[in-house]
Symmetry: C2
Subunit: 242 residues, 2 copies
């Protein structure tokens, strides 16, 4: 009986992977993942076997991992960023439970809220929320409700999947909801292509954020009432006094 | 003029550090940090110079980094977990701005919300909040408000600093506030000493969580309305359909 690691490789650049994730990949017979992610690790692990498939094929990807492990292989199921945050750890654990397979180890990774924050300065240094604007698996009214609660609670907010081709206006709609509570001058920022070629970061106000053309490669940050832009960095104080 | 890296070393075990953090430490002349954290890296980087001080001395630690860098040194200011999340990136950027020093690079790390989640299964696979129960730098009424907003928004919640000697009852008080909105059967879990000796993890209900004796080495997780305990793991589905 083999083993499955479900692991986060960080935001793209292999240097953002943990040593633990690297060791798990080195010890694996086969690396499984969405093709965009397997392409990111292939050069560093050229001698491994690979199994890759497309978006929306997550359940099939989990089934394949269990099949490979039952055949005695050590399997790494890779995720961009972290293994848990909008990642594959959850569907793998659910499917493995149904199939009575339990030799699974979850290895965390640096999710975009952390890697994007590092590029912008220190936007999530105090209590924060992470919210995805993708309504593929979540009703839009749940997303709206969470945006309102996040603004009401004066949380710093990291927004994932701010827009895609099919939902080009989601970030604009989200900003409009946030501005029911937050001033348009709220300090914000965004990062595109974290850890990959063409990586860009920019600070702005919430007003300006509502006008940008984002896509699914953006991660967006909304500061709390104490966040400030200093020296082109987005910085949230660690507390209400220092 | 030298450079300052402010970096997250992950939860304790050096294997949870990113390759980028390891390279920054290798390239540094001096490693600066709270003594508990410098002790975690000293064995792996025995030839470095060290500067360490105690809790509540954060501003002085930042000043020292700037002083060392102005003397031409490459400095690593280390944080447990991530550099940003309740970390040193924010005070360092604020103090450096006042002193017109700007050769600073923030290197992210695996914060306890991610490393603790990996040990418990997949508790924060959907929208989540991170909330600290320490009222050292934040008024308790702000913390209460955020707990209410997090529950109202059906977020998964990662709770940092759930208790300390001086505030032994904070977690109990927080659970009571959450239970104004959430059922006592809500799936929860906690982890102690992540990545260090004596690491333990346990799943439980919100009712049971309110009765545990936590301390500052605990990280606590409260699931959303869809979270379930399966096979002794805390698992939140990635969406409302799969």
């Amino acid at each position: 009986m083999g083993k499955i690691y479900v692991l986060g490789i960080g935001p793209g650049n292999n240097k953002m992977m943990t040593l633990q994730a690297k060791e798990a990949l080195e010890s694996s017979d086969i690396i499984v993942g969405y093709k965009t992610y397997t392409d990111l690790v292939r050069d560093s692990f050229p001698d491994k076997e690979y199994y890759e498939n497309g978006m929306r094929k997550e359940a099939q990807r989990c089934e394949k991992c269990i099949e490979f492990a039952r055949a005695g292989k050590t399997v790494s199921l890779i995720c961009s960023g972290d293994a848990g945050v909008y990642g594959m750890a959850s569907p793998l654990l659910e499917i493995a439970f149904k199939e009575s397979f339990d030799n699974i180890e979850v290895i965390p990774g640096v999710t975009a809220a952390l890697s994007g924050a590092a590029l912008l300065g220190a936007p999530i240094s105090h209590d924060f929320c992470v919210i995805s604007l993708s309504d593929l698996l979540t009703p839009w009214d749940v997303i709206e409700k969470r945006l309102r609660c996040a603004a009401e609670g004066d949380f710093c907010i990291a927004i994932y999947n701010p827009a895609s081709q099919k939902r080009a206006d989601h970030l604009k709609r989200a900003c409009k909801i946030l501005m029911e509570t937050l001033p348009g001058e709220t300090a914000c920022g965004y990062v595109k292509n974290i850890g990959r070629e063409g990586c860009v970061q920019k600070v702005c106000t919430l007003d300006e954020l509502s006008e940008i053309s984002a896509d699914m490669l953006f991660t967006v940050f909304v500061g709390n009432s104490r966040s400030r832009i200093i020296n082109e960095k987005l910085v949230t104080p660690r507390g209400y006094e220092l």
